[in-house]
Symmetry: C2
Subunit: 209 residues, 2 copies
DNA sequence: CCTACCGATCGGTAGG
DNA sequence: CCTACCGATCGGTAGG
């Protein structure tokens, strides 16, 4: 409603209100999918949220499931990048250091892509799209478990807990932050990453030293 | 189809197939709700799973939402019992001891009531029933945060991480087990509880001592 | 981008 | 008049 709007150069061959491109629809969709659940969110809900009609949504998007798939791919691409780098052996870098690094960088991804990661963590496998996402996710879990096993094997992690169990619990703790983290809240990303690494690697108990 | 069936004492005034009481329907419903999601599960799916018709389900149950509410109450009642006991101050028992105890007993509840707790942890607040459950869950979270704060105050937990953050991460790790724990799997309940308390309180890192 | 719809399926209930 | 269901269909709404 600003006066300057009329002075803007004419958009080339665009009718209707602008600003509702695919990515804006995707953002709104993922937010609704997380707030109410994928199945409980109708395309009509999404349209209303965007101030559009339902058919207008389908001008930009081919299906509800496509929106889900794009969000899951976004989360999986980011996590794959982090895990792949951490899984790569490098001269002079221990598995323990790479494990700490992947925890820290995972927190960064969860914060920066919280909406799509949240969606990923709730996938049940109800469709081809969801099954494909679960498959990619299992690959990530396997890599992380192998990294934990390497850290145990090199002697830097305690060996009295099964590595596969350590991996599940450690990244269970990391992943849980999508349930409560708010960017505008009391804790910033670095603080959360520090808290997780401190708890996981050094423990909560205060030891007299 | 066993021959002995005909020899059983006549059920008193029961026609139709027996064995589909409220609790059996609830068990099947919760299992389906978790496997496919609440909204993605139709009462027809549930009927098929039980070998009944949909109206037969409604003879035992007043609504789909009632099934959800009963499962959530089951989980919340168990967790409330555990948290209430752990929150009660007792002579000669430190907050640290009560915190370790509530972690261990939470694992027991998550294993024994995994289906209903899983459902609880996925509630989004889409209905009155879900909002009521979220309210009870917040009460539990607040009690646990207070217990962590007490343990820090008495000097038994490190004070360089905010207690509210510790509480979220610690029980985030505990709760994450509903995502992968299987009773028939490699780890029993006690092993998981030991692993969680070891990681959380003593840390993963191997320190030369 | 909208109005006007479709095939199907939803949770829940009628009579018997 | 009861318990335990069935075949069919209700009013609405889903994705498209």
């Amino acid at each position: 409603m600003r006066a300057t709007e009329q002075a803007e150069p004419a958009p080339r061959r665009r009718r209707g209100r602008p600003g509702h491109d695919q990515s804006a629809i995707l953002r709104a969709a993922v937010e609704l999918f997380n707030r109410r659940g994928y199945d409980a969110t109708s395309m009509g809900d999404l349209a209303k949220e965007l101030g559009l009609t339902k058919p207008a949504i389908y001008y930009h998007v081919t299906s509800k499931e496509q929106l889900l798939g794009q969000a899951l791919d976004d989360a999986l691409d980011e996590l794959t990048s982090v895990v792949t780098e951490a899984s790569t052996e490098r001269a002079g870098v221990t598995a323990y250091q790479r494990l700490r690094e992947v925890v820290r960088r995972s927190v960064e991804v969860l914060v920066a892509h919280q909406q799509s990661v949240t969606l990923l963590l709730r996938v049940r496998g109800n469709s081809e799209v969801e099954l494909a996402a679960l498959s990619r996710r299992r690959w990530l879990d396997d890599r992380l478990a192998a990294l934990v096993a390497d850290a145990v094997a090199e002697g830097s992690l305690r060996d009295d807990v099964p590595p596969a169990l350590v991996s599940r619990l450690l990244f269970g703790m990391v992943n849980s932050l999508v349930e409560w983290y708010r960017a505008e809240g009391a804790y910033d990303q670095a603080m959360v990453a520090d808290a997780i690494t401190t708890i996981a690697f050094d423990g909560l108990a205060r030891h007299e030293s």
